[in-house]
């Protein structure tokens, strides 16, 4: 009985979310409300970013603070190539540019163990912002670019497609031997190297892969804005949100970041439009600190712990 209950609860977590997404897609054409469409589009963007962030940082423990840099690169790719090329190609360019950029960063920092990676990625947003501002104002003499706008529907479906691809890649990667290599790096990097994992290469490639999705998300979301400049493209909040959402949701499970993003995006939306709009960064920061202090494995971890406790209590007499 206890076993059966556990099974259904796990199944609910495992299959419930894909189901919700499918329903969402099915229902979507019914409500022709721009408000909800925008809301869900942004939620999808945050979900993609969080899942992509977790692919590398969640499993290996190397905390990347550069999500905003990759996202910004995607936005700039869209601004530079949007007129000349079809939308699909622009998204690919955004992803590819982020991949190359992340590969270079990884090659510099991930050869080394420890804190260097986080230290290096922390300032990248500032670097990109300052250099671009300097370039645009002293050499190009015009600040910002105009972006070719796409229809809301196109943005929604491209983003949904990107999100599904991100989830699938994240899931397949976790199940593959590379996923095993990644989590062994997170557990004990020295031991991982001893059993024959090419630690540096695995780290660099995974980091670059996670950047692809962030860049692509940026390239898609840029078409929602008609004008971009470094200030809009490189917002430190975009680095902060995936880390917060993934930590809150829990990084041990693929659905953790998704749950975290959905909850946080809707809270953010409420806060930004309400009387507390000047406080939402403060509230988010406090939630991040609180989460790390009191539930380091996030909501999903908490649920799993409760499940274990309930099922453990029930099965104790049987095993004993």
């Amino acid at each position: 009985m206890g076993l059966k209950k556990l099974f259904t609860a796990q199944a609910a977590i495992k299959w419930g979310i894909p189901l919700i997404i499918l329903i969402l897609v099915g229902v979507f054409p019914v409500f022709h409300s721009t408000y909800y469409q925008t809301l869900i589009t942004f939620a999808l963007m945050y979900m993609t970013l969080s899942v992509a962030w977790t692919i590398f940082s969640g499993t290996t423990g190397y905390i990347s603070l550069a999500s905003a840099a990759f996202y910004g690169i995607g936005i700039y790719a869209s601004a530079l190539f949007g007129e000349k090329m079809p939308f699909f190609l622009v998204i690919l360019i955004g992803g590819a540019a982020s991949f190359i950029f992340a590969f270079i960063i990884g090659a510099i920092t991930l050869r080394l163990r420890g804190i260097f990676f986080s230290m290096f990625t922390f300032g990248l947003v500032l670097l990109a912002y300052q250099v671009l501002i300097w370039y645009e104002l002293t050499i190009k003499n015009i600040r910002g670019y105009f972006v070719v706008i796409q229809s809301d529907n196109a943005i929604f479906y491209y983003l949904l497609g990107l999100f599904i691809i991100t989830i699938i890649v994240s899931y397949v990667l976790k199940r593959s031997k590379y996923g095993l290599a990644l989590s062994s790096i997170g557990e004990n990097e020295n031991a991982s190297e001893h059993i024959g994992v090419n630690v540096t290469l695995v780290k660099i490639l995974t980091f670059s892969l996670s950047a692809v999705f962030m860049g692509a998300a940026g390239a898609i979301m840029a078409t929602k804005l008609s004008y971009i400049d470094p200030n809009i493209a490189f917002d430190p909040m975009i680095s902060f949100s995936p880390a917060l959402m993934a930590t809150f949701g829990g990084m041990g499970n693929i659905y953790g970041p998704v749950i975290g993003s959905v909850i946080f995006y809707f809270i953010q939306d409420r806060l930004q439009t309400g009387p507390l709009q000047n406080y939402y960064k403060l509230i988010f920061g406090a939630v991040l600190v609180g989460t790390i202090m009191y539930m380091p494995s996030g909501i999903v971890g908490l649920i799993q712990k409760l499940q274990k406790r309930i099922s453990g209590a029930k099965s104790a007499p049987i095993t004993g």
Binding site: G123, L126, Q130, L244, T247, L282, G285, A286, P296
Partner: protein, 291 residues
């Protein structure tokens, strides 16, 4: 020649303040093992408290006497409550460092938001000792000289404290091996919190000194944190003398790039820091004086 002299003197003067900021971060990471991404926000608070006190007629140099204890206590309590909890709950050192980094990232947003709420995001500045001395054709801003003197003096004072007193010895023991130091009778939670407090106080005082010389904004913290990160890497993670020397090196490089660039946009200066960072990571990741 005159340009060269201007760059070196200007660089050394601002370098003194950079040294103080970086020593604080070095202490926080080297001993307490917290990569404090919110370091620049303590600095911003120091700067704005000085600004507010100055508006009420308090001499900026006197306000250091208030800011140092306030930021010290804030840092001490922060470590004793938040980071100690994280440390106790973490499975191993790596998990602690990762979680502490994320928590510091959270504090970065909390503190910056509080700063913006209190002081808004418009740039502020005030005049203090703004006369210029001439020395062999080079300009020396009086306020920068005073600020650098204070920063260097505090840095040397702290080094003497570390190397001569009993609690300084405890800090050095904890820096080498915290668990063993704990076994040898050092009250480790107290000493680590002490280090974090000292680091925060150094940031606060540095902020106060910066407000004397330069304009300040509530969003300036990020730039100074980045600078401190580069200096700490340059000097060697956890090496206090290394950070002290690294601050001057970066001060001179930053001033030189700013001098060549002649633009109010600091893109190239930040880029030059990153170039140094990249070279360091490729050639000598343990820094100038690292172990």
């Amino acid at each position: 020649m005159q340009d060269f002299l201007n760059i070196v003197i200007g660089g050394l003067l601002i370098g003194g303040i950079y040294s103080l900021i970086s020593m604080g971060m070095s202490l926080q990471y080297g001993v307490a093992k917290v990569m404090n991404i919110a370091h620049g926000e303590f600095l911003m608070f120091g700067a704005f408290i000085t600004f507010t006190l100055q508006e009420h007629g308090v001499n900026p140099l006197v306000s250091i006497i208030i800011i140092a204890p306030v930021t010290f206590i804030a840092g001490f309590i922060l470590y004793r409550t938040v980071f100690t909890t994280i440390r106790v709950r973490a499975d191993n050192q790596g998990v602690f460092e990762g979680n502490a980094l994320l928590a510091a990232f959270g504090f970065y947003f909390i503190l910056q938001n509080i700063g913006v709420l209190i002081w808004k995001s418009t740039p502020k500045s005030y005049a203090f000792l703004n006369s210029i001395w001439k020395l062999g054709g080079a300009d020396i801003f009086q306020n920068r000289l005073v600020a650098a003197g204070f920063a260097i003096g505090l840095g040397i004072l702290f080094y003497i404290y570390l190397s001569t007193t009993r609690s300084g010895k405890a800090i050095r023991a904890a820096a080498q091996d915290a668990p063993t130091a704990g076994l040898m009778g050092v009250n480790i939670n107290f000493v680590l919190a002490l280090c974090f407090g000292f680091g925060a106080a150094m940031a606060g005082v540095a902020g106060s000194l910066i407000s004397i010389c330069y304009g300040i904004t509530t969003t300036m913290g990020l730039g100074y944190t980045l600078l401190a990160i580069v200096v700490v890497t340059l000097g060697g993670l956890g090496s206090i003398p290394g950070s002290f020397i690294g601050g001057f090196i970066l001060g001179i490089i930053g001033t030189a790039v700013g001098y060549i660039n002649h633009s109010s946009y600091t893109g190239l200066t930040v880029a030059s820091y990153y170039v140094i960072f990249i070279i360091l990571l490729l050639v000598r990741p343990k820094g100038l004086m690292g172990k």
